[in-house]
């Protein structure tokens, strides 16, 4: 295996007239956690489906663990573990039975499989529940079993597609800890997709921001944030004044740049946020626009996303918007 666990080049996938993945390229160094970050409908899950041999791309190429997903899907399947967006445990089987079936499909010898299953059940806090049908598990427990199933055959590359969606904050924090521990485990490469900025920030050593089926930015979270010089200045307008007038007013302020409006919120950047605020407020006041609040912050991944796509992450993730994007 080369030092690249996953190599994706110019991947394209269309469903009818919808282009879900539109020339996507990225590489994942072996032994790291790599995040694909983007709103719903950005093409992350479709990419994972192609990389896990579930779907075939219309164009482009992908190597996983050094094997071509189109030419040698069988070899890819042996090398990967896959935790899909939806919890996919068999509710009628017990936790242990779920693990044993999964491992048996990879041809693991019985004795080794039993000890591996026990080890994983203990590690994911499921030892006591191991003999109960999975339908009696809580959502967090089912998700942990799901992740354990992806690991039972000791894959070289693990795919985690939106692993914490639908979990309560506590279960989410538990899973984060476990994923971080897995990453420290030698040799395992993890490709994580998420639409949670904090999740990508916390877990991914490197990440690619995906928007409308393309990678718009790639790097470590710190690199991406430090590309944005200075601070972010966010201004929330009150309900009355014109957004256009506000935009025009701020654009004339020399201390700030990259002004974007999202609804009645204006986002802009400044080398020194604190000293820019009085100028911004004065300009808005002169234009007759009333301000509800002003906030200065260090660059976040949300600002990175905004910079590269022209939209805030929350805006892009809103249900109506996501649908529009899929239809586009």
């Amino acid at each position: 295996m080369s030092s690249r666990a996953v190599q994706v080049r110019d991947l394209v996938k269309r469903y009818g007239k919808v282009t879900a993945v539109d020339g996507l390229s990225f590489e994942v160094p072996a032994g790291t956690v790599f995040g694909l970050l983007g709103p719903n409908g950005a093409g992350k899950s479709t990419t994972v489906k192609i990389l896990t041999t579930l779907a075939r791309p219309d164009a482009g190429s992908a190597l996983v663990a050094g094997e071509d997903v189109l030419r040698h899907p069988g070899r890819v399947r042996r090398a990967i573990g896959c935790v899909t967006q939806k919890v996919s445990v068999d509710p009628m089987a017990t936790g242990r039975e779920n693990l044993l079936l999964q491992g048996a499909l990879y041809g693991m010898p019985r004795r080794e499989l039993r000890s591996r299953a026990d080890e994983l059940l203990a590690r994911f806090g499921l030892a006591e529940a191991a003999g109960r049908p999975a339908r009696t598990y809580s959502g967090g427990m089912q998700r942990r079993l799901d992740v354990a199933m992806g690991l039972v055959h000791r894959p070289r590359v693990l795919f985690l597609d939106e692993p914490t969606t639908g979990l309560d904050p506590e279960a989410r924090a538990d899973l984060w800890t476990e994923i971080a521990r897995l990453a420290a485990h030698e040799g395992l490469t993890i490709l994580l997709t998420t639409h949670y900025l904090d999740e990508a920030d916390r877990l991914a050593a490197r990440l690619a921001i995906v928007d409308r089926g393309r990678v718009v930015a790639e790097g470590s979270p710190d690199e991406l944030k430090s590309e944005l010089r200075g601070d972010a200045v966010h201004v929330d307008l009150d309900g009355t004044g014109s957004v256009e007038a506000a935009l025009a007013a701020i654009a004339r302020v020399g201390a700030v740049r990259d002004v974007v409006a999202a609804g009645r919120a204006l986002h802009t950047r400044a080398d020194d946020g604190a000293s820019a605020v009085p100028h911004v407020l004065a300009a808005l006041d002169a234009a007759g626009v009333r301000v509800a609040s002003v906030r200065v912050s260090r660059p976040s991944l949300d600002d990175v996303y905004l910079r590269h796509t022209g939209r805030t992450f929350g805006e892009a993730s809103a249900p109506g918007h996501a649908r529009e994007e899929v239809a586009a």
């Binding site: 896990t52 041999t53 899909t84 939806k86 996919s88 445990v89 509710p91 009628m92 041809g107």
Partner: protein
Amino acid sequence: MKALAVHSGHFTMRGLRAMARQPAFLVVSLVQPLVWLLLFGRLFERVAELPGFGGGSYIAYLVPGVVVMTVVFSAGWAGMAFIDDMGRGILDRLLTTPARRGAFMVGTLAYQACSGVVQALAIFVMGLALGASYAGGAAGVAVTLAAVVLLTAAFSSLSNALALLVRTRESLIGASQFLALPLTFTSSAFMAPDAAPGWIRAASAVNPVDWAVTASREALSAAPDWRAVLLRLAWLAALSLVLGFLATRAFRAYQRSV
């Protein structure tokens, strides 16, 4: 080949285990044929007096009919397991493992066949209790069970293929009822061919449900025509191979949609 057999074994066990954990389902699947035996047995009791029934008791005539009808209806639901697995994401997960596509198919057919055999044996016992006798003896029962396994394989394959293509419960139920009812009632399950209209007799020659009923009933009779029995079993075997192959191909259609 070895992987196919081993994986099929795992999927068969998974199906049987899930079935064993739903006692209500087990009870219903055994009580329902009893209801058919009692209901049809009483309702049509006197049709056995018609020419074409050979003068025997109607219950004895009915037993292979109810066995086959039960199998057709149970097997028609086989694809439901696939639809459940699709909805839960289990199918997608399995498709990313090295598990053979054919093993998903063989696994569901095998556990459906197991349940069909148990149902058939239960119906034989119920028939005995209601006064039927089986002149063909053990050989007759064995042939009936063989017909059950083959017919299950054919109809489960069809149901699985439909499941992979239509992907919703409602469409699958609709399609399987649409097939099962007419095929059952244009067979000789409940009515002797000689007492049925000519067009039904003609249609039953190409009706796999009738192949299974006729082979079973013939083998259960006092002096079976073994050539007729084996011929029909061979047709059933050929049909189930073809449908099993086509159903496995239906995975490609499913994966194109993923």
